[in-house]
């Protein structure tokens, strides 16, 4: 049974009305949406949130009729979008009312140039050429794409591509824009660019925006309403963000902290939080003075070598070292004298902007790319010159796209294939069933991997590269597209592996993940390591500081737990 709490903007005419909507995919026994009732007013900016599998994408696809016209399945209840009924009229008719933007911009492009892609829908709608020119110019300027109009799509950055996808959806002049996790594939800067463009469209054009997103901290400052779909009971909360966040367990660190300290109203931005933070700091002035400049306080206690998970003493001699690594592509230097040292049981986060060389570094380690010069050693033995297949026995590498690894008919078979590749099927270093249980995949052993959720697929891929029990783990953007729960589970798993002595090199843009999990942070810029320090180095970085660090400058607190412990000390 769904609950609806109507909040702001009820004076405006509702542009979307959903009444007791239930939907079941074909062949599924469980409904993806169950008895959902909600309203969205004209001109609202609405965030649809909730764990993976809660039905966010399904709800969005109901708005333009892709569900059920494209997917099949059974719909019950009513949905109206303006004067239209998406279930009756279908997505092609609704395309004039609801623009739709998908997660991966590349997957929705039909042609190869920016301007042509925007005009494609108009050409097929037989819009007269003079009007078409006008509409294309409009959206090019609305989204600041005019300088890119002649560019090939594959030469654009991720954020630019997503803006082109938005422009293409807007060319038909819809009144509503629905976006399904449009920033999940983007780095923070590109995500911010896309969100700013959406805010502009909402404020200046009065466009109704319905956005599904996992990373709430990115979007909350801009939204009027939060629709939270919770799994498995499909309980729906629809109200202004603060009201909903009070009732939701997994929230951004800032909100988590606000809830922990009883801040009211709950802050959604760091700016809003500072008012409460300064009061809290005044009350704990002595404590904060005591921790400033040193490694004392809550964070230092947490980072101690023997933590709650029993992390061993770090061996600074280094089980894994990279020395003076150079790599160039087509004569252009990508890595320039990179040095890395990771001790057993240490988790090092490698951060940097897109194109700084992070993935290249990982690929050099596993032998997918051949460095120009430099040494890569593990336990004293060189990895340079060894075949990738040989290196992968000792080094587990999880690439950005876990689906690329998965091709077997079952989760269990995925692990068996890796063991067979290494001739270890008869004597596996870890019992595959134990590993699956540890990855929380025990009951999914017979499932088809590609049918699983993003977080589950991530864990299957992780199992496939760690079943040889590698001593070094390289993870490339492992939290992309994961919800808060999946992220937390991943962090717990990494901590367990650390406790057993595995070294982990984590490439990520996710500053909150680094704040939670890393022992050390390295910043890579233009192929050079420009910082190598404890995670507290992030507290002073305007680009990489997590929410809590920005809230309490001058402390070494990175996570909500740090701040709660510190303030309560």
């Amino acid at each position: 049974m769904s609950t609806t709490t109507n909040g702001a903007n009820l004076t405006l005419a509702p542009s979307i009305q959903v009444r007791n909507l239930s939907y079941t995919y074909p062949g599924s026994s469980e409904p993806a949406l169950s008895d959902v009732t909600l309203e969205i007013a004209d001109g609202e900016f609405v965030l649809v949130a909730g764990p993976s599998g809660a039905g966010k994408s399904t709800l969005l696809r109901c708005l333009n009729g892709l569900v059920p016209h494209f997917t099949g399945g059974t719909v019950q209840g009513d949905i109206s979008v303006g004067e239209h009924d998406p279930v009756d009229e279908g997505p092609q008719t609704l395309s004039r009312v609801v623009g739709f933007v998908f997660q991966d911009p590349e997957a929705q492009f039909v042609v190869d140039r920016v301007e042509d892609e925007i005009a494609f829908a108009l050409e097929n709608a037989a819009v007269p050429p003079t009007e078409m020119r006008l509409r294309v110019e409009e959206v090019l300027h609305l989204l600041d794409l005019a300088p890119l109009r002649d560019r090939q799509l594959d030469t654009l950055s991720g954020g630019e591509k997503q803006k082109v996808a938005i422009a293409a959806a807007l060319a038909l002049r819809p009144q509503i824009l629905a976006l399904d996790e449009p920033t999940s594939q983007l780095d923070p800067q590109s995500a911010e660019d896309v969100l700013q463009a959406l805010v502009r469209l909402n404020h200046d054009m009065g466009l109704t925006i319905v956005l599904a997103e996992h990373r709430l901290e990115r979007v909350l400052p801009y939204v009027d309403r939060l629709i939270y779909l919770s799994d498995p009971d499909h309980h729906v909360l629809s109200a202004p963000p603060r009201e909903v966040l009070k009732q939701v367990e997994l929230t951004p660190p800032l909100v988590e902290l606000g809830k922990g300290l009883g801040w009211d109203p709950l802050p959604l931005t760091v700016k809003e939080g500072r008012r409460f933070a300064s009061r809290a700091r005044r009350r704990r002035q002595d404590f904060i003075h005591g921790t400033r400049g040193g490694n004392g306080g809550a964070r230092a206690d947490k980072a101690a070598p023997t933590s709650a998970v029993g992390r061993p003493e770090l061996d600074r001699d280094g089980a894994f070292t990279i020395e003076n690594l150079h790599f160039a592509y087509n004569g252009k230097p990508i890595l320039q004298g990179v040095d890395v040292q990771i001790a057993p049981g240490e988790l090092v986060a490698l951060m940097g902007r897109n194109g700084s060389g992070k993935t290249t570094l990982l690929k050099c380690v596993v032998g997918l790319l051949k460095p120009e010069r430099g040494r890569i050693k593990m336990n004293g033995g060189s990895l340079v010159g060894q075949r990738t297949a040989e290196i992968s026995k000792k080094v587990g590498y999880l690439p950005q796209e876990p689906s690329d690894l998965l091709f077997a008919d079952s989760v269990g078979e995925e692990l068996a294939i890796t063991l067979r590749n290494h001739d270890l099927l008869d004597r596996p270093p870890i019992a595959p069933d134990d590993l699956l249980a540890r990855l929380d995949l025990g009951n999914l052993k017979a499932s088809y991997p590609r049918d699983l959720s993003a977080g589950q697929r991530q864990r299957v891929a992780l199992g496939a590269v760690t079943v040889t029990k590698p001593r070094l783990l390289l993870l490339d953007e492992p939290t992309r597209g994961l919800d808060y729960r999946a992220k937390r589970e991943l962090v717990d798993l990494l901590r367990e592996w650390q406790a057993e002595g595995a070294s982990i090199l984590l490439v990520t843009h996710d500053v909150e993940l680094v704040a939670q999990a890393a022992d050390r942070v390295m910043l890579l810029s233009q192929g050079e390591i420009i910082a190598d320090a404890a995670p507290e180095v992030l507290t002073t970085s305007p680009l990489f500081a997590p929410q809590v660090a920005r809230l309490f400058p001058g402390t070494d607190w990175l996570t909500a737990e740090d701040a709660l412990e510190g303030l309560e000390a």
Partner: protein, 354 residues
């Protein structure tokens, strides 16, 4: 930028010219021409070529020389003999056969280079416009296929790497299974995603006007006339003129049917490209080259058999082949006249750069 039809004419003219000669000097002129045109017109903003002509030549020329050298045992300059019991390969290996094979490889490189330039300079949308209106949907499918090629190439690389990091080695055909399966599955997933995105953008919302019976009837009638004329031409020598007339009538009826079908297609064109003086000059250049290629076959002819000799070269014919250089000249002249819209944007971008 030239019209896509003009670029297609340019590529086809290069194909005809390259097919008309095996003289290394003329082939080199053509190769230089396509290289210059590619270097001038196919700048960074076009589609990337999947394989550079140089890399193609490195593979095609030696392979072609080897194949011809091993299978054609003709020519006066015998290098060595392979045992005669070797089927196909046994016999004299001659310098002439190797040279002719290498020339074939070079000719293939010219053709590859020309179509590589065509691929890079013609936006996908212009390719869709190249298809007759009656085949508009086919044109869209073609464009999607073209954009899928680079995406699939990237996926293949990613998947090969992903399988390698779990210890997979490609040593036999069966070892490709872990690469091909995810490639196919991800391709299908991408196709479904694209179909969904196109539907969400209203593709197919505007239905074409429907009068299928008349057009289908005309098409059937045209095909029937074409077939009847062709059979008559083959088996009734006395009625050949009537046969040709029937075939022409059939072709005309088919053309009419396609035109009527095209009129039903509800589709407009964004910024239809206007014909420029550059287009006219390029057509004239192609016409010059095409005329020479079709009429000067004896001058263009060269064969290294039976004994390798210096190839002849007629400067007039060589100059006529340079008609294919017109696109490069037009582009350079346009750039010299001053920055166009794109040039202005690039200048702005440079100004903003730190």
């Amino acid at each position: 930028m030239l019209d896509a039809r003009v670029w297609l004419l340019w590529a086809l003219t290069t194909l005809v010219a390259a097919s008309s000669t095996r003289s290394p000097l003329y082939v080199i002129v053509l190769l230089l021409t396509t290289t210059v045109v590619g270097g001038t017109c196919a700048t960074g903003e076009g589609r990337r070529a999947p394989l550079s002509p140089l890399r193609f030549a490195v593979v095609a020329v030696p392979l072609s020389a080897l194949f011809n050298g091993l299978t054609v045992h003709f020519g006066d300059t015998v290098l060595f003999h392979l045992p005669s019991w070797l089927p196909l390969l046994g016999g004299a290996i001659t310098l002439e056969a190797l040279a002719f094979g290498a020339l074939n490889g070079l000719t293939l490189t010219v053709i590859f280079s020309a179509f590589s330039v065509f691929n890079q300079v013609t936006p996908v949308r212009d390719l869709i416009q190249l298809t007759p209106r009656a085949f508009h949907e086919g044109g869209v499918v073609l464009s999607i296929a073209l954009t899928f090629i680079p995406q699939t190439t990237r996926s293949l690389k990613r998947i090969r790497e992903a399988q390698a990091v779990r210890g997979h080695r490609v040593e036999g055909i069966r070892d490709w299974l872990p690469i091909v399966v995810p490639l196919l599955v991800s391709g299908l997933e991408r196709a479904m995603g694209l179909a969904e995105a196109m539907v969400a953008r209203g593709y197919g919302a505007v239905t074409d006007e429907d009068h299928p019976l008349r057009t289908q009837g005309l098409l059937a009638l045209g095909l029937l006339a074409l077939l009847a004329g062709w059979l008559t031409y083959l088996f009734r020598a006395a009625w050949r003129i009537s046969a040709v007339v029937t075939m022409a009538a059939g072709a005309g009826i088919i053309g009419l049917a396609l035109w009527l079908t095209g009129r039903r297609v509800q589709h407009t064109v964004y910024r239809a490209r206007s014909w420029t003086s550059g287009d006219t000059l390029t057509v004239l250049g192609c016409a010059l080259t095409l005329t020479v290629a079709l009429t000067q076959r004896e001058t263009l002819y060269y064969s290294p058999y039976p004994q390798l000799s210096l190839p002849p070269f007629d400067p007039l014919v060589g100059t006529a082949l340079l008609g294919l250089l017109v696109p490069a000249i037009v582009t350079v002249a346009k750039e010299d006249r001053g920055p166009d819209a794109r040039g202005t944007q690039q200048a702005e971008a440079l100004d903003e750069a730190p």
